[in-house]
Each structure stands twice: as structure tokens, then as C-alpha cells.
Assembly symmetry: C2
Homo-oligomer: 112 residues x 2
Amino acid sequence: METSVVIAALSALAHPGRLAIYRLLVAVGGVGSAAGEIANSVGAPANTTSTNLGILQTAGLITSRREGRHVRYWTDHEAMRNLLGYLIEDCCGGRPEICAPLIGARARVPVC
Amino acid sequence: METSVVIAALSALAHPGRLAIYRLLVAVGGVGSAAGEIANSVGAPANTTSTNLGILQTAGLITSRREGRHVRYWTDHEAMRNLLGYLIEDCCGGRPEICAPLIGARARVPVC
DNA sequence: GCCTCATTGCTATAGTTCTGGAAATATGGA
DNA sequence: TCCATATTTCCAGAACTATAGCAATGAGGC
């Protein structure tokens, strides 16, 4: 994974409005959400939201598809997986006994 | 977990120099690394590195301890665990069958 | 006291990011 | 074709962030 891609993803998420959008899309899951709905949910103007959706999409964190007059957005799970992996890659110089607490922790994160 | 804390952590990591520092500290694991060593490794001046270490520490991602003349830094695994958890919290509105690919992926990330 | 390691404050310059108004574009329906 | 709705693009000022030089400070060891 290239550093510039990682920086783009982290920068995209390091913004209250975009983090809210991303988490909203994580929460709704496979259904996704239209740009207008998203703007409403996070309480930001349409153009600002569109800009932020574009930034998240350029970073590869979300994808979109036009559906009639709407454009629907989803999170890209693969991208988040890669990002999480990158952050803890080569952990502890390959000594599992030190790294284990982090691995265990990840298994314990309450998801769904 | 508070949003401002998450934003601080993501902002701290969304910077090539700081990401390099963070990954270096992840890689060395429990041994940690002294400020001077880190500056050398990433090829940045001492004061710039010190500033960046301060930003990572304020974000809660790393901790430090003075050891004689040196100040040694480590990653805080707990902080990274919380961050990863926050990003995928409430995933898929509680429908595991959709979310499963992401959970599985996290288990597959090669660590140590 | 003197040396080294590290941090801090100040400074300036350069560059990036945020925001939302206005205008443009896309789609579907009458 | 004309209109309404949905979304995106363009733009520019304001705000923020990064970098690194220099000097000063503090902490520890000899």
C-alpha cells in the first residue's frame, strides 16, 4: 500500500464533517445513502457535502452509483481493511508475544 | 470515544513524517526509540521531529519516558485499538451478515 | 562547570484546506 | 421543450498547517 494513498485516506477522515459522513455510511451498511440524504443527516449544505463526498471517494474510502436522479454512496470495506492493516503492519518487528495485546484487542472490538 | 480525540489522532497520522514515526514505533515494538534515533531514522531535524512527536503524544497515540539523557517513545496500543474500533462502530446497523467481510478481513490482516 | 540530548519559543515563509454562494450539469417527468 | 430536483463544479477569501532556522532552557551525566 502506497504512503500517499494512506495519507489521503487519513486526511479525508481527519475532518469532523467527513468522519460523520463516513460513520453514517458504515452504519447504514449495504443499503448506502443518497447525497441529499447524507447532507440532511449531517446538517451541511449540499455543495459542501458533495465536496466532502468527493474527497472521501478520491481517497478510495467510499464508492458511488447513480440511481436515477440520485447518487448513492457506500463505504468500501476493502479500503478500510487495507488502511487498518497498514497502520499495524510489521508490528513489533515480528515478535508476537509483544504484539499480541493489540491483536487480541482487535478481535474484541464490538462490531455488529 | 470523543470525536475531537478521534480527529486529533487521525490528523496526527495524516502527515507523512508523523506516519513514518508512528510506523517506526509500531515496528520496534516494546523496545521503543529515543527522540534522536527517531529523528535520524526519518531524516528530519531534531526540532521538527520533537514537534511531531509532541503532536502524536497529544493525540494519545504514543507515550514517552525519560531514560537518563534520552527520552524514549512507544506506541500506545490501547489508543490504536480504540481508534480502529471507533471507525467501524455500529457497523451495518447491527446486521452481521453484511458486516462479516470486514470483521473477517481484520482477522486476516498479517500482524507479527 | 561543561557536554549532550531534547524541548520550547519565536519567527517567517510557503503551502494547504475549509466554506458556501453562484453557476453548471444530469436526470426524469409533464 | 420546459421545469423541478439532485448533484457537482468553480471560485475566492479566510483560516489553518508545515517547515525549519536560531536561540534559550532544562535535565542528566561526567
